[in-house]
Symmetry: C2
Amino acid sequence: MIALEGVGRTFTVGGSPVHALVDVALAVRAGDYLSIMGPSGSGKSTLLNVLGLLDRPNAGRYLLDGREVGTLNDTEQAAVRLHQFGFVFQFFHLVPRMTAAQNVGLPLTLAGVPAPQRQERVAQALAACGLADRAGHRPDQLSGGQRQRVAIARATIMNPQVILADEPTGNLDRASGEQVVGILEDLNRRGMTLIVVTHDPAVGERAQRRIHMDDGRISADHAR
Amino acid sequence: MIALEGVGRTFTVGGSPVHALVDVALAVRAGDYLSIMGPSGSGKSTLLNVLGLLDRPNAGRYLLDGREVGTLNDTEQAAVRLHQFGFVFQFFHLVPRMTAAQNVGLPLTLAGVPAPQRQERVAQALAACGLADRAGHRPDQLSGGQRQRVAIARATIMNPQVILADEPTGNLDRASGEQVVGILEDLNRRGMTLIVVTHDPAVGERAQRRIHMDDGRISADHAR
Ligand SMILES: Nc1ncnc2c1ncn2[C@@H]1O[C@H](COP(=O)(O)OP(=O)(O)OP(=O)(O)O)[C@@H](O)[C@H]1O
Ligand SMILES: Nc1ncnc2c1ncn2[C@@H]1O[C@H](COP(=O)(O)OP(=O)(O)OP(=O)(O)O)[C@@H](O)[C@H]1O
Ligand SMILES: [Mg+2]
Ligand SMILES: [Mg+2]
């Protein structure tokens, strides 16, 4: 389903290059459950952004269901992304002027789902994350971990084929973290492909397949 | 040095109140090392914001070196804050258009420290956090954990009397996290008061004194 071959991503700052991804090869099948771990700055978020079509590699190929997507233009990328990927960002990226409920329902609004159906699905998603009583709060009226859970509810509400979660438990206490991992694993059991970047070994070791990165390269790839 | 008596903080959203802090009493002596732990939404960040004079309680008293500071106006609060507190925010709050070096040096710039001295202290602080080769990067050109370390370097550069660190290791791998905790503990050994909010028990248990919060209240306060 997902095939990366010889992927490279180099950033240039003030003339000096930063090799964020170097010669990355990765094959993922539909329904797989992967974790990506590695030191700060090793390229995990950059890899997730390339997979989620939020960034383009400078080298190599990215085949999604056999189709080359690494070289699509912005509009084409956005179309593929909207229907295939749910993204949990490392820093949430919630819309500041919208309430928790409006943020969670935003993908449904963009997809044209009628209001009654949308409200029902949003209420369910917020309840599952323990945030029913914060539905009317804006992001600046929520704690760090509450914002993170709103971001997770938003990423899962469209039942995407692939969820890319970047540090989904970084701001959560143990109980909330386990609740969130439980929601993601439940979606994976129902067939969704799940790729989780994490610093927490307790989260990373739950995955069926564990990838380790160092200095932009995949240094280990273990299946259980 | 710090004395909170009967402190309360209630937020009102759409008419319904959220009691973020309820009847909080806390005494901290100069040079203490405290950790604050508790579930997501239990009031940890709100307590830190009140201590750092970034927010005001609705009830109770806040005495800093015997002086009531809970009712100061914004200008007075800012003056006390600039010279007494270093703040590591849960989401860093770096200035987007400034480089890592400019962000770290900002408190020194505001305090009127001459450029040669400032550059030397900034270079030292960045090297201590392992970011010497990212000095010219802006926040959007840094990884999550690299931004977090820039925020920590900025909070410590003025050698404040008190460091309030909100989740300082949430986005860091184990090695970087230990490096950061090491920097903070080193400053504490030299007399700085250190208050760390964390979800990571491995970090929380290093403190001399451990406070636990639940639903806006201090539910436990253990000294080793
Ligand atoms: N837009 C950018 N411009 C320049 N350099 C960048 C950019 N984005 C990332 N980098 C650099 O690329 C490297 C990889 O960054 P990335 O965000 O992928 O790391 P990461 O593994 O997610 O780290 P963390 O665990 O700290 O979040 C880092 O050294 C970073 O400084
Ligand atoms: N500006 C605000 N307006 C309304 N409610 C708020 C505001 N800030 C915080 N709250 C609410 O107050 C409670 C405490 O929030 P706080 O940010 O202190 O929690 P926390 O312990 O830091 O949580 P986390 O571990 O998730 O960061 C939460 O339930 C939150 O929804
Ligand atoms: Mg990252
Ligand atoms: Mg918080």
